[in-house]
């Protein structure tokens, strides 16, 4: 308790408050630009903070990392373009709400989710970091492989509405993730001797193409506006009040976010989608999901924001980053002499707890910024498409280009834009494909690792209790959409 008090007093010094505010604003700005993301934002900000006090620098970068998710949710809601893969779940209901003229409500839900989910996640992190890290250690390569399969099967079954199409989309995503160097043998696969593909299909560029470019071409076909009604109804505060009417959903989504975040490499994209799927399953009105359901936005955003503290558990306590952003943050910690590991909570307690307290305060600052700007931002949905479309294209393709300064990345984004459009016309949703791309390397690496450990025996995939539970959940998630109507028929037949 003393440590937390000291940390609070430290954070309230003017230079640390300024770093916190600066990191929050930069994070939102970075998140709003599709393709930039927290990792690029931290990399760009590093030269600025290198000479600062380590705690102040980590507060700035931690706030930037945390708030970029909120920035990404703004574009996901307003223009159907996620700022990062972690915002993909928010598209499902956030954008339809916008089309119904309720963009302000969606932004209010998002800001409140960022505040509540982030605060719950950080408090759990402060209290339970060591036992959570121990739980993460029980997962071996086989368990990680099965966790990724579970995430893919749940998303494929629930998001698409037709399990087979969702699985096909996920399968295509996994196949595309095999492009480039094979992580086990170093062999080049499917690159056709084109150098930009040697490191694999770059995730950000694919994300920009699948969502931003596709959305731009969809909007370009008409000269209307995003909002299909020419006015905005509801506002930020309606979103805030609506949020607190679903306490059970808040607890569920926070728990899912925290648990998923603790598992390295599974990541925020999975957390949001899994929470959305669970919210749909347990809702009284599942038919509203995907058509502007407030519970959908609440679940995905709360889980994504609760996930980031869980992500930090493994990064700080074990030195295992859960995402690219966490990997950059880990590098920054090492640069400032804060070596990760279990001892960091005692040897560098002042810095670590200052960071935790700062991240709790960031949640509230996010809410205030959202409150001030939500209505103004929602006006974007009333602008004509001839203004919005080129802006989306310029900003998103710029994000693609700026990562490696290569025009080839713009071509990759355009190719994925064409793929996304064809998928849309074919009745496929790109979200399982994106998740397949994100998790593909993890799936393949852990598949091979597990087989190496077991000497080629497949029993390793169902040896442990955790594996058995994961397999059962995967089977249930795939069979569930078909068992539900069958069960209804049986019970109605009995009546």
């Amino acid at each position: 308790m003393d440590v937390v008090q000291h940390a609070l007093l430290f954070v309230l010094q003017w230079q640390n408050l300024a770093a916190l505010a600066g990191g929050t604003l930069c994070g939102i700005l970075v998140g709003v630009l599709p393709g930039l993301g927290p990792s690029a934002g931290m990399a760009l900000a590093l030269p600025l903070v290198i000479k600062w006090h380590p705690a102040t620098a980590l507060i700035f970068l931690g706030a930037l990392y945390k708030c970029s998710n909120y920035g990404g949710s703004i574009t996901a809601i307003l223009v159907n373009t996620p700022g990062d893969a972690s915002n993909a779940a928010t598209l499902l209901d956030g954008y339809p709400m916008c089309q119904q003229g309720r963009g302000g409500v969606a932004l209010g839900l998002s800001a409140t989710s960022a505040m509540v989910g982030g605060t719950i996640g950080m408090i759990c992190l402060i209290v339970a970091a060591p036992p959570l890290a121990e739980f993460a250690l029980k997962f071996g390569p086989a368990e990680y492989f099965l966790t990724a399969l579970l995430a893919l099967s749940i998303i494929a079954a629930v998001v698409q509405g037709a399990t087979i199409k969702g699985l096909i989309s996920a399968g295509l995503g996994l196949l595309l993730s095999t492009v480039g160097f094979d992580v086990i043998t170093g062999q080049l696969r499917y690159t056709f001797d084109w150098a930009p593909l040697e490191d694999g299909i770059p995730l950000i560029q694919a994300l920009v193409g699948l969502f931003a470019v596709t959305q731009a071409f969809v909007l370009a076909q008409s000269n209307e506006s995003i909002s299909r009604i020419a006015r905005l109804s509801g506002g930020f505060w309606e979103g805030v009040l609506t949020y607190f009417r679903h306490p059970a959903a808040i607890v569920r989504a926070s728990t899912i976010g925290l648990l998923v975040g603790v598992l390295p490499a599974v990541g925020q994209s999975s957390a949001g989608l899994l929470a959305w799927a669970e919210a749909k399953r347990s809702s009284r009105h599942p038919e509203k999901f995907g058509h502007g359901s407030t519970e959908g936005v609440l679940a995905s955003e709360t889980a994504t924001n609760a996930c980031m503290p869980g992500d930090l558990v493994c990064t700080i306590a074990l030195g295992i980053p859960g995402s690219l952003g966490a990997a950059i943050f880990l590098g920054v910690m090492i640069i400032f002499g804060v070596a990760p590991g279990p001892l960091v909570f005692t040897e560098k307690a002042d810095i670590i707890y200052a960071l935790f307290v700062a991240l709790v305060l960031t949640s509230f600052l996010l809410f205030v910024i959202g409150m001030l700007f939500a209505r103004r931002l929602a006006v974007i949905t009333l602008l004509p498409n001839e203004v919005i479309v080129p802006m989306i294209l310029v900003v998103s393709l710029l994000g693609s280009f700026a990562i490696r300064n290569e025009m080839a990345d713009v071509l990759i984004s355009l190719a994925f834009g064409a793929l996304g459009y064809v998928m849309l016309k074919g009745g496929f949703t790109p979200i399982p494909l994106l998740l397949g791309l994100v998790l593909g390397e993890m799936v393949e690496t852990n598949y091979h690792r597990a087989l190496m450990i077991s000497g080629g025996s497949y029993t390793i995939f169902y040896d442990s209790i955790i594996s058995k539970v994961l397999i059962a959940l995967t089977v249930l998630s795939l069979a569930g959409p078909y068992l539900g109507p069958f069960w209804k028929t049986l019970t109605q037949g009995e009546k």
Binding site: G171, L174, R189, A220
Partner: protein
Amino acid sequence: MWCKIALLFVFSAFYLLANPLPEESREFPQLLAVMSFALAAIALVLDFTRGEAPQGEILDVDDTELKVQDAGRRRLRRKRYCQSWVIVLVSTGVGYLVGFLFTSLCLLLGFALVLGRKEKRVFNAIVAVATTGVVYLAFVVVMKVPLVGGLAW
């Protein structure tokens, strides 16, 4: 249906292109390709075997005008879609030659002049140039991202 047929070819290509690779490298992608091919084939079979629901016909209503309007709207949307792609591809080509900054300018001007409303063309063109200026200041001057450079320099 055509999308699923195309996917069958895509998954077959992934399988066949992996053949020259060593066994450890091709095992995983070929397994995925086979499973995805099977799923796509099942989906295609389900599409063929699903019976069409009988639709009632109302013979005494002339819907020619609706069909013409609908077809007209579809043609206009397709035209705008193709124009968008032309603008994007030309802008990307310009970017390869002289840098991404000029891609931004071409994109903004292209959409303003080709797809924008006639009465707002001048205003949209001014906004396009101003936005390019903001992009230059923010990314080239402040963030040092090299947006000017290409084959022509």
